[in-house]
């Protein structure tokens, strides 16, 4: 199963990095929303420090869901998903592979957006790079995993591009809330401690629980 998951992941990453179309579009989307934010919230005020985490993770949640959505659309355009299921690739392998590929995509977007944000909003986010990396990894996996699960479930829905955010955002709010809080703390150069460590534990717990749930349930979800 892990081998097949890996194959699916490699295939997805290769497909995307061939033309980089979805990645470029997601990046452009993130930058555009960054500009929108600058109109909505006075970006030169000191207040902006307090909502840095909020802005960033809303941004990443939005473009993450777009990327995930795209990743299933690609599978669906020529009914390739049916072929994979028919040739007995376990649904959990499919899920895992696609979630890993989507993680790569989301991390790529973050890798570009974080420095740009630092520059444009004049806030150094990289005071504690190892903590930032940890928060990004944990939260991006949450977005990617839950996004992939629900994209798989809504793959035949007419309204997928509308329904996916509606379902995924509320589900990942715990992870996002944690990420927002931690990013704010880390951006100040303070390693998380005390109350904030609860958020780290929440993120880890969230990832573990949902990964287990998804892998366990996936085989019954995809086939009706």
């Amino acid at each position: 199963m892990l081998r097949q998951a890996w194959l699916v992941c490699v295939k997805d990453v290769r497909m995307e990095f061939r033309g980089k179309e979805a990645l470029n579009a997601a990046l452009a989307f993130a930058l555009v929303v960054l500009i929108l934010f600058s109109f909505a919230f006075d970006p030169t005020s000191e207040q902006i420090r307090e909502i840095t985490g909020g802005l960033l993770w809303i941004l990443f949640a939005f473009s993450g869901v777009l990327l995930v959505n795209r990743s299933f659309a690609r599978e669906q355009s020529n009914d390739c998903l049916d072929i994979l299921i028919a040739s007995r690739v376990p649904a959990s392998a499919l899920l895992l592979g696609k979630a890993m590929a989507n993680l790569v995509f989301i991390l790529t977007v973050e890798a570009v957006c974080l420095p740009v944000f630092s520059l444009l909003y004049n806030i150094n986010l990289f005071l504690l790079p190892q903590w930032l990396l940890l928060v990004c990894l944990l939260t991006s996996w949450a977005i990617s995993l839950l996004g992939t699960v629900f994209a798989a479930m809504t793959v035949n829905l007419r309204l997928r591009e509308l329904m996916l955010p509606v379902i995924v955002y509320p589900m990942i709010i715990p992870a996002l809330a944690g990420a927002m809080q931690l990013t704010n703390v880390v951006a100040l150069g303070k390693p998380p401690e005390g109350d904030d460590l609860i958020w780290v534990r929440l993120l880890v717990g969230f990832d573990i629980i949902f990964t287990a749930l998804a892998l366990g349930l996936m085989d019954t979800i995809l086939v009706d």
Binding site: Q4, R14, R18, R74, N78, C80, D82, I83, A86, V223
Partner: protein, 220 residues
């Protein structure tokens, strides 16, 4: 080894019975033509055999390596022909020889170009390679003759004959009866979700496509 056996299977979409109480079983080496009017349940049955959905009642036993050619062509536009075949081959231990298949469907020269530059015929040939590669035991084809020209039909028939030759089981649904009758050994004829005929292909079907509708169809 290919096994294909249905025992009293039914499929309901909500309350609507798409398939009712079908039983059949076929030996390896059979080529089953799945016939029936629009909405009779052909696609539903094929999807169930492919494992895309499960019967509401009854048991469906499928053995061996299954390969499906549905309405979509089932290859990725963003990859090249070779990458496509490599990927599908790598999913299985007995995946098949990619180079040989590229040769067979005459795509060797253009094997590295991304699919979206291909013409429709080339994509179809690749889809055929994807489906027949790696010696699948059970081939499920949903209206495979649709919008194929004479040459493509000939290629498909040749591939089907070859697969039959090595003992694969084939189930194909179609409305283009003459094209299918050349190879079919058996016929499953569905009428509104019920099995109206299940048996070897009658001689009469060779010349007269509508024979089965007249003989086993419900008067209407």
């Amino acid at each position: 080894m290919s096994v294909l056996k249905a025992e009293r299977i039914s499929k309901f979409f909500g309350h609507f019975p798409a398939l009712r109480n079908l039983s059949f079983s076929f030996e390896p080496g059979s080529c089953v033509a799945l016939l029936g009017r629009n909405g009779a349940g052909k696609t539903t049955l094929l999807e169930m055999m492919a494992g895309l959905s499960r019967p509401t009642e009854g048991t469906l036993t499928i053995g061996g390596r299954v390969s499906l050619l549905g309405h979509g062509i089932g290859v990725y536009d963003e990859l090249s022909a070779r990458e496509n075949l490599n990927f599908f081959a790598s999913l299985h231990p007995r995946g098949g020889d990619v180079d040989a298949w590229l040769e067979k469907v005459r795509l060797k020269e253009v094997a590295e170009a991304p699919l979206r530059e291909y013409s429709r015929g080339m994509r179809q040939r690749l889809a055929l390679a994807r489906t027949f590669m790696g010696e699948p035991d059970l081939l499920l084809l949903d209206e495979p003759f649709t919008s194929l020209d004479d040459k493509a039909v000939a290629l498909l028939q040749w591939l089907l004959a070859e697969a039959l030759g090595r003992g694969a089981t084939i189930v194909l649904s179609t409305h283009q009866i003459p094209e299918a009758m050349q190879l079919a050994t058996h016929i499953l004829f569905l009428e509104k979700g019920k099995l109206a005929y299940n048996g070897p292909r009658p001689e009469e079907m060779l010349g007269d496509s509508k024979w089965i509708y007249r003989t086993y169809g419900v008067a209407n």
